[in-house]
Symmetry: C2
Subunit: 435 residues, 2 copies
């Protein structure tokens, strides 16, 4: 067994972060106080809200962002940066402050999801890894939340590991759980994050045996009558009959992985009931997404296994978040708001705070104040959206995944009813800037 | 610094692989000789060929697929499987054979990309991690190859790390390099795989300084006149004038990251030439994909930086590969082809070999023989597509990334001319089964 150092996150980074650092160290600007903001300019087209995920993973990445000997040797050997920069990197440790939206929170265009305050040098280095985590995990959580919204309380299970990068699969299982999924197929997500995992068998197991009856008997004998039998390898009706014969009416579930799931579920439900297996659940798993789940609302289905469309963000595999310098110190030590002057990519300079404005408990606006605290409205209440995540380099924002999951459920419950509809439209809330 | 064990790949796996194993161990079928095949039923809609990537990473994952003490303790504590299964997993080591398409090879519907022969127990466990790697890496390589096809020899650079999971980013940089990209922004990809990395500065660097002139002077002073200056933070024409004033006509490149890139490139080229900076290159980087690259073919552009659309597979972030049991031993020790009988998911049973059939050096068919070697055609030549990757548990298929890159270039050159067109259509080659 190889023994190695814990995986550092420092090289999960774009080359230019280091060359900018080198040039800034040389010009004397590297240590200017700076404010970076992580946000999205817009939601994916037609989507009405987004869901923040990856916060806990981002905090781990900040903590592990160190340049160990092997990394420094690599950078030196390859002459990526000069010796002054290498010496500075050897002592790197983020010592600034980070506040941001809690994990599981809903977000809208312009929501200041993370505000990172430190020196330019310290904060710029975190850009790539923070964006990677937020862009990926939030894309999955945003898709997952919509699936939960239409599943009507029926459990959704992540089965997408095989359709995405093997490590992205673990993060996807975690993000889906934050957004309300009940379980995952991914064992590493259970080991690392405590996400419940489930699984029974694939078609290969049935095909391995000489007959379907042999396969069912082997599975029930080993995994118990509460297991889920896959009934669509050959003939569904015959398999359902056999499944109840083998497992008895205590059979936990049958799984359908092909065909017209809605029509099949009706037939299978009738057959199960007629065989006395009234408590046997029907799980469906073939190419589901939020639209397919919605279309199965009236079918007698007890759970959804979602794969490809979950782990690829259901058409939007990334969140298009950016990480922008919004303010920095000038020669006299004053903080100056800054923003690129580009025609098609609007940014608002300055350090921001945000609240969700509620009227009778329903969210009505995302209010963002620049270089100030948001002013309250008339007859509305404001819920602050920023939590302290890092203070003076110390990670203070750790929480359980259950806390993030609860935050998501609460934030979703607060959204206008249209959040439950899959109809395309504008963001559910207007983003209102105060300055 | 924390010291931990090297990351094992065994838990990057679906729960049901282990429960199937448990049931098969109990029923006595676990050790039946089995053949699994990794393949795609179809190409993404409109795509005309795909590119295999991830082969080298998959071989690493097979080698690292071990159940160490911490993993076994976890599985025991959580009662994922029974003691008999745990004991078997403790000794797990893949001892079978794997052959498959070389990394960088083109593929078509039904191409048997991997053929895994071993016992059921040994081979089924590899399903999830092999699919994760192949599905992700091939999606990136397939998109990258199309971008290279239309870039007309101009270099393409991967800048997508921030828009995908942080580890997927490293794999994406590697896959894009296999498909012909010249470099990546990702430093971990350089460290782990030797992919060339590049990078200079972002808008934040310009905004950090009091003036654009200060920023340019700082960058050129530290990184040299050969650097690339980002000229669209404020006014492009003024920035180009300033860039040449600061760096001289030896300025390496200017980068445009917004606006109408084609029109801007024409203006900037004229301005650079008029300032005597005839060798200064123009790099463009805003939301590019294969269609945007094609539309810039006549613009005076010297290189493309591609981000989001590369790392998300340009609309197809996964490859839809499956891993199916296609043959297994029966009670008498004979191998029996098997396949699921489902209406909408066709599989062909049996162990396969494949050749690319060529006529006058141009690929004309993907010929797949079942349980036999392909029969040659008339007046055509056949190029075998399988390489031995693992023999008796020994990894024999390791090769350099350069070898994979060369294989891709050769395989692409062999395809019909339509491979260079972005027009949607049917797969370029028919898949012909012989049995």
């Amino acid at each position: 067994m190889t023994i190695t150092e814990a995986p550092a996150t420092a090289l999960l980074t774009d080359h230019y972060e280091l060359t900018m650092l080198q040039a800034a160290l040389a010009s004397g600007t590297a240590h200017r106080r700076s404010v970076f903001e992580l946000f999205g300019r817009k939601l994916p087209e037609g989507r009405r809200y987004g869901v923040v995920a990856g916060v806990g993973r981002a905090l781990e990445a900040i903590e592990a962002f160190r340049f160990d000997t092997a990394t420094l040797d690599f950078l030196a050997d390859e002459r990526v940066v000069d010796d002054t920069t290498l010496a500075w990197l050897a002592d790197y440790r983020f010592s600034g402050d980070v506040r941001g939206y809690g994990e599981g929170e809903a977000y809208f265009p312009g929501s200041p999801l993370l505000v990172v305050e430190s020196t330019f040098a310290e904060a710029v280095l975190l850009e790539t890894v923070l964006l990677s985590i937020y862009n990926h995990d939030s894309a999955i959580a945003s898709a997952a939340s919509r699936m939960i919204a239409v599943a009507g309380g029926r459990p959704c299970i992540d089965m997408g590991s095989r359709r995405t990068h093997e490590e992205a699969a673990v993060a996807a299982a975690r993000a889906a759980y934050v957004a309300g999924f009940g379980a995952t197929s991914n064992l590493a997500a259970r080991q690392r994050y405590g996400v419940p995992s489930t699984g029974t068998s694939a078609h290969a197991f049935t095909l391995l045996h000489d007959t379907e009856a042999d396969a069912f008997r082997a599975q029930v004998s080993s995994l118990g009558a509460g297991t889920s039998l896959l009934v669509d390898t050959y003939d569904v009706a015959e398999a359902v009959r056999l499944a109840v014969e083998v497992a008895g009416p205590e059979l936990g579930a049958v799984r359908l992985d092909s065909g017209d799931l809605g029509a099949l579920a009706v037939e299978v439900r009738e057959q199960l009931d007629s065989l006395g297996a009234r408590d046997t659940r029907i799980i469906v798993t073939s190419d589901l997404d939020e639209f397919a789940i919605a279309s199965l609302a009236s079918a007698p289905v007890d759970g959804y296994g979602v794969g490809t469309r979950l782990v690829t963000g259901s058409g939007h595999p990334t969140s298009a978040f950016v990480y922008k310098l919004v303010a920095r110190e000038d020669d006299e030590g004053r903080m100056v708001p800054v923003a690129k002057k580009s025609t098609n990519k609007l940014s608002v300079g300055g350090s921001k705070r945000a609240v969700r404005r509620l009227s009778d408990g329903v969210a009505v606006a995302e209010v963002i104040a620049v270089d100030a605290d948001p002013e309250p409205g008339d007859g509305t209440t404001d819920r602050p959206l920023h939590r302290d995540l890092v203070v003076g380099g110390e990670i203070v924002g750790r929480e359980t995944l259950e806390a993030a999951r609860e935050r998501h459920a609460a934030a979703f419950a607060e959204l206008p009813l249209a959040a439950r509809s899959m109809t395309r439209g504008e963001p559910l809330l207007p983003t209102v800037y105060q300055s």
